[in-house]
């Protein structure tokens, strides 16, 4: 039972940590993210985007700023991305109908809303997307309003559908402060191998300015952003190591106890002519079998947990988690190591047990 729980923990941690460790599919190595170096929610001047676009190897550049709605007084809970019109051209994980994308480019008041949010809030095409934001509008209020022209979907991480995308220029013109600033730049590069050199070039260029940048591939930056909350990977590794040693201690204790309880049986088997090595191997095989059963059940438990977690997330984490083959393979390798380490001492005890000593316990 304890082994099962330990492997359930292993499977769950490995599977659910994917959103923190950047192993989510669809994060591109061909897209570079440029963001403020010291503050995840800081600002960069739009000129940084122009500089990035001018670099060799950069094919296209998209940038956006956040309009953070004030939740309680707004019709939406998510983020509004005030983006350059080519958002969907570069951020291909986000997908929208052509007419909606065209409307975003041609109509400054248009908004493309995430499908999940639209479903949750009952937003329809033609509706007004009205909300209060922390940014002040030119009329002195914090009220913002856009026309819904379509919906977008994402290939993974359905939580990203809890947002809306609007036209950057219209937002920038309308707001009273922070004009000409953006929160993030995404650059599509011609060759992923150039990611490091381009990243270094951008970061070196702004290193000593008030707008120091941090640049890297999207997959790497996702991990770094998660790390700003906490070093998730380190925490995961620490938990997994704890799990591993707990499994080891639990199984070593179980195996030892099992052998101690069967001292007489082992003695009897030796009496009947079973050789020391045969009993050693049988103890090792038993440990491996038990651990593999626990591994299998733990991973099966993880598989059953995935839809539960996705359900509990209210669709935000839909289709995000997969029990990958490498996790399954890793689990069985871990099981094999645990079985070997845990059973080696009890198996050695069985190997060296003298029959007369075993039967004396009778």
């Amino acid at each position: 039972m304890s082994l099962f729980v330990a492997f359930l923990l292993y499977g769950s941690l490995q599977t659910f940590s994917s959103i923190f460790t950047g192993s989510v599919k669809g994060l591109s190595a061909q897209n570079l993210i440029v963001m403020p170096r010291y503050d995840m929610f800081g600002k960069l001047p739009i000129s940084v985007a122009q500089y990035v676009e001018s670099l060799d190897g950069v094919e296209d550049v998209m940038y956006f700023d956040y309009l953070m709605p004030i939740k309680l007084e707004s019709m939406m809970d998510g983020v509004v991305f005030a983006s350059s019109p080519n958002f969907f051209d570069i951020y291909t994980r986000f997908q929208a109908p052509d007419e909606a994308k065209q409307a975003l480019k041609s109509t400054r008041s248009s908004a493309i809303v995430g499908k999940l949010m639209a479903e949750k809030k009952g937003i329809k095409i033609g509706d007004k997307l009205s909300f209060k934001s922390t940014s002040m509008n030119q009329d002195g209020s914090y009220n913002w309003s856009f026309d819904v022209v379509g919906f977008y979907t994402v290939t993974q991480l359905a939580g990203d559908e809890m947002a809306a995308i609007v036209n950057y220029e219209s937002v920038d013109e309308a707001r009273l402060s922070e004009k000409g600033t953006i929160s993030m730049i995404m650059a599509r590069i011609a060759n992923p191998n150039m990611a490091d050199s381009i990243s270094d070039k951008v970061d070196d260029r702004f290193m000593n300015s008030s707008y120091a940048t941090r640049t890297g591939p999207e997959s790497m930056m996702a991990v770094e952003m998660a790390s700003e909350v906490a070093d998730i990977e380190l925490i995961m590794t620490a938990i997994l190591l704890s799990v591993f040693f707990t499994i080891l201690l639990v199984s070593a204790n179980t195996m030892s106890q099992s052998i101690r309880e069967r001292t007489i049986e082992i003695g009897v088997l030796k009496c009947l002519g079973y050789k020391d090595r045969q009993l050693f191997v049988s103890v090792m095989l038993e440990a491996t079998f038990l651990t593999f059963c626990a591994t299998g059940l733990g991973l099966l438990g993880t598989l059953l947990l995935i839809p539960v977690v996705e359900q509990l997330s209210d669709g935000v984490l839909a289709n995000t988690f997969n029990l990958e083959l490498e996790i399954i393979f890793g689990g069985f390798i871990l099981g094999l190591i645990v079985a070997f380490l845990a059973a080696s001492v009890p198996a050695y005890q069985a190997l060296t047990l003298r029959v007369v000593d075993a039967l004396r316990e009778d």
Binding site: I264, E265, G267, V268, L269, K270, C271, L272, G273, Y274, K275, D276, R354, V355, V356, L359, D362
Partner: protein
Amino acid sequence: MINLIEVKEVSKTYNRGGETLVVLDGLSLEVPKGDFLALMGPSGSGKSTLLNLISGLDSPTSGSIIANGKHLEKMKSSALSDWRAGNVGFVFQFYNLLPVLNAKKNVELPLLLTNLSALKRKEHVATALNLVGLADRGDHKPSELSGGQQQRVAIARALVSDPDILVCDEPTGDLDRESATEILNLIQILNRDHGKTILMVTHDPVAAEFSKRTLYLDKGKLTY
């Protein structure tokens, strides 16, 4: 008569806390084929140690033990295991059946070391269980059997590989008189009708009466 077992000048000592404990002291003994020998004596007299030496479970400190033509004291652990599997059947006071296995599987255990096919093993198990009168209890686990029945299963296990020697260490020590008598009758039949050579350690004089001869041990020596 041919001696199946010859024990010559055998001593067995143990070191306990720097002190040498003499358990068997230059003991000699001959057991002819087909004998039914009861060994009696007070606790600590060396009965079980002698039984362990003769059955190849332990090695003497000095002296020699020749059983079925083999010098047991010269054999290594692995060779002794093979020898035991082919020549000795064990019956213990507390039966020592594997609780998770049913009677058939318990009886089959010694046969798993042989090259017999599953079908042949099944036949041998059925014969052994039939011999001890438990043909209809093969699918029962030890916990579902009485003490006497468990000892019968243990005897079937000891017999199933058809060994020449049957070693019984207090075989009736955990049984009531009625069951003990049944078991002793069974052991007697195995000796008389099936030619098994039987060595039995017992504290019970009534049990010893079932044997052909009784030897007494005291302080590691035979006192007759």
